[in-house]
């Protein structure tokens, strides 16, 4: 959904990040505007998930160079919870289990925290229950999800649906969905994609981090970026994902030796 009135939401310039002294991101440039859907693809170890975690502020990673602006603010100065409250959402590849904490309690605390940040009304447990049940219908979720401990004993598909439920509740400006398709069978994938598509609008933006093109059949990206060795080495439209599906990633490696071969279909990669 590319719109001429869209505003720049995220601007990453020359981003370098490392973990325990090992460089993982080696100069990322990426601009995301409102209303856009970007897919970041690449082989395992190319740095896709690291980029997602760095954006969310995971403390294990150190940003050694470069800048990240989110709606004009320096994102790197914000703690993870401040980034979340500013409207940045990370859908986890491996959602974390929190034993003994009822899902509904967790969801309501997260929801109310974000609501109060936005100066909006918080919901008491009863109001929230009605509200969350409505949202759960979007994802074909069984209401007993609410009483179970957060992600504990959830199947892979249930965990991912729970992530998207959180996205639906928190209405983030920028959602980064890290391998949301992994571990999902085709039916679950369709449900999750349907949920995401209902949340996406012209005022928010989405980054899909994925290994396979499969997800992109259901959530159609405006841009596809290919990562390799901690850099974005190629950017194209949705057809690039198709090409990757048929040709694999190897050919990019050889083409990339000529930096000028970089596709720039997106114009602002």
């Amino acid at each position: 959904m590319i719109d001429s009135n869209s505003i720049t939401m995220l601007s990453i310039k020359n981003l370098h990040a490392s973990i325990n002294g090992t460089g993982i991101l080696n100069g990322i440039d990426l601009t995301v505007k409102s209303g856009e859907i970007h897919a970041i693809m690449g082989l395992n170890g190319s740095g896709k998930s690291t980029l997602a975690k760095v954006l969310a502020g995971h403390s294990a990673y150190e940003v050694t160079q470069g800048t990240i602006e989110f709606e004009g603010k320096n994102l790197l100065e914000l703690a993870p919870e401040e980034r979340a409250r500013a409207g940045l959402f990370l859908g986890f590849q491996y959602p974390v289990e929190i034993p003994g904490v009822a899902n509904t309690q967790f969801l309501r605390l997260a929801y109310n925290t974000i609501q109060s940040q936005r100066g909006k009304e918080e919901l008491d447990p009863l109001e929230f229950d009605d509200f969350v049940r409505e949202k759960m219908k979007l994802l074909d979720m069984n209401p007993d999800f609410l009483d179970r401990s957060v992600n504990e004993g959830f199947s892979g598909g249930e965990k991912k649906r729970n992530e998207i439920l959180q996205m639906a509740l928190l209405e983030p400006k920028l959602s980064i969905l890290d391998e949301t398709d992994s571990g999902l069978d085709i039916d679950a994938l369709k449900i999750v994609a349907k949920g995401v598509n209902q949340i996406i609008n012209k005022d928010n933006a989405t980054i899909l981090v994925t290994h396979y093109q499969r997800l992109l059949d259901y959530i159609v990206p405006d841009f596809v970026h290919v990562m390799q060795a901690g850099r974005i080495v190629m950017t194209g439209g949705k057809e690039l994902a198709m090409e990757l599906e048929t040709r694999g990633y190897d050919w990019i490696g050889s083409d990339q030796r000529n930096a000028k071969n970089r596709l720039t279909a997106g114009a602002h990669a």
Partner: protein
């Protein structure tokens, strides 16, 4: 994240004030004269003095236990004052006569006394240093035949009951600290629920040590007759002193046929400062006798304070089909040490016991679970389930589990599960990514960890325990 947490950890202990009330303090030291003095001050009958002196003589021949996993400098028992009472001109007959300074103290502590007690529907007995100050709701309870008063009052007004049950579950020579308590106990609560009566409200005792250099030795006795039931709550605080203070209490519970006693404690004695200076030594003997058939004794404890905790609330399951339960959360931070657990002694047929213990260690602290499950030859068909989980916060603390299982009847079924985990960076990151601040995140994870125990607590206590835990641990992560 750590800066926020750092400031939180430095929050002062909020119960650390001293109340300026004139106290009647006995000279330091312990000998037969001091015991006679205590007994005389309290105008006690001869049999109780004999009880005390017997205990004192036994105590003299005993040595402090050394098997527990805690370390502290040797205690000089002659450097402690064994009696400290707020000076009061006359016997109090109503709340209005209580020293207003004292009432303000309880207000600061948040004790639901007086009108607030009425709202909360809790009957409170308050032990200040050594003397019971006020017991609310006495009349209302008396109407259904329940006796709830200080143990000193009970000695005078119901001597036959006290004489019958005092020391019947924890004999005077049971252990070093129990013997000391039996010799010098100055007050405590007494509760008697007659046959067939379900106590209409939760009963509550609030303990506070106020005077520096004094020890607190309270004695609690709860008796539930046939078919009776009661839910009893106990809270504890102390002001902040650099010296260590001794708290050696004894609690005895007796449940007759079909009786049910639920005893909950939220312990928040002063724990010492962040360098381990000062704090209460909490050496407590708590034991319940499930004497009758189908009786039930249930202990729930949330131990957050004290420099050292040495405490094993136990159940002797004598009646057939009797049930013993122990639910515990023990939190240690800084240099606190806790060695706590339970004993379940199965004597009767088809007796059942459940142990759920949650230990949380942070800072440089050390927390040990120590529990004994003994199935005696007569305990046909006995069952026990034990679960001990430890959570570590940081890498300077320790958690230990010492389960002792003795089975002498081959029809018994005993299960033990244990786990140790570290509070996860991943969990904290996940919650923070949803906008939840560090303190709330820690609190949520810990409360989830302790859920099985907290759900045993009465509502107001559960709320207090939840807050207390967050308060104790904020700042330990980051």
């Amino acid at each position: 994240m750590s800066a926020v947490l750092q400031s939180l950890v430095n929050q002062p202990y909020k119960h650390g004030f001293v109340t300026d009330i004139e106290s009647d303090v006995a000279p330091k030291g312990l000998n037969e004269d001091i015991i006679r003095l205590i007994s005389a001050k309290k105008n006690e009958p001869e049999w109780l003095l004999t009880f005390r002196l017997d205990a004192y003589r036994k105590w003299q021949s005993m040595t402090e236990p050394t098997w527990q996993n805690v370390h502290h400098p040797k205690i000089d028992y002659q450097d402690i004052s064994y009696y400290s009472a707020p000076k009061s001109k006359k016997k109090l007959t109503s709340m209005d006569e209580v020293d207003p300074e004292l009432l303000r103290t309880f207000e600061k502590l948040g004790v639901p006394l007086h009108e607030r007690a009425a709202l909360a529907g809790v009957a409170v007995d308050v032990i200040f240093d050594s003397v019971s100050v006020a017991t609310t709701y006495k009349q209302k309870l008396a109407d259904v035949g329940i006796i709830f008063c200080s143990i000193s009052e009970a000695v005078h007004n119901h001597p036959e009951l006290v004489k019958k049950y005092l020391g019947s579950v924890v004999p005077v020579g049971d252990n070093f600290y129990a013997a000391l308590n039996s010799a010098v106990f100055t007050d405590g609560s007494f509760c008697f629920i007659p046959k067939g009566v379900k106590c209409p409200m939760d009963l509550s005792t609030y303990f506070r040590i106020n005077t520096e250099g004094s020890g607190q030795f309270e004695r609690t006795l709860v008796i539930a007759e046939e078919g009776a039931s009661v839910c009893y709550l106990e809270g504890c605080t102390a002001p902040q002193f650099d010296t260590n203070q001794l708290h050696a209490a004894v609690v005895e519970l007796i449940a007759l046929d079909n009786a049910d006693i639920k005893y909950s404690t939220v312990q928040n004695w002063y724990a010492g400062d962040e360098n381990g200076v000062g704090g209460i030594y909490n050496f407590v003997t708590k034991r319940g006798l499930a004497k009758g058939v189908n009786s039930r004794i249930s202990w729930t404890q949330v131990e957050t304070g004290a420099a050292i905790t040495w405490k094993y609330p136990s159940c002797i399951l004598r009646g057939d089909n009797s049930v013993g339960e122990f639910y515990s959360v023990a939190v240690t931070n800084n240099f606190q040490q806790a060695d706590t657990g339970t004993k379940m002694i199965h004597l009767g047929k088809n007796t059942r016991s459940t142990i759920i213990s949650k230990g949380i260690s942070a800072g440089h602290s050390n927390s040990s679970y120590r529990g004994l499950v003994r199935i005696t030859p007569t305990a046909e068909g006995a069952r026990n389930y034990s679960q001990c989980d430890s959570m570590l916060i940081g890498d300077q603390c320790g958690a230990h589990t010492f389960p002792y299982i003795q089975v002498q009847n081959n029809t018994a079924k005993v299960e033990h599960e244990a786990s140790t985990s570290k509070i996860g960076e991943d969990q904290l990151f996940y919650l923070s990514q949803r906008g939840i601040g560090a303190e709330e995140a820690v609190s949520m994870i810990i409360n989830g960890f302790c859920k099985e125990v907290f759900q045993q607590l009465p509502m107001e206590f559960a709320v207090e325990a939840t807050k207390l835990l967050s308060f104790k641990l904020e700042g330990s992560v980051g």
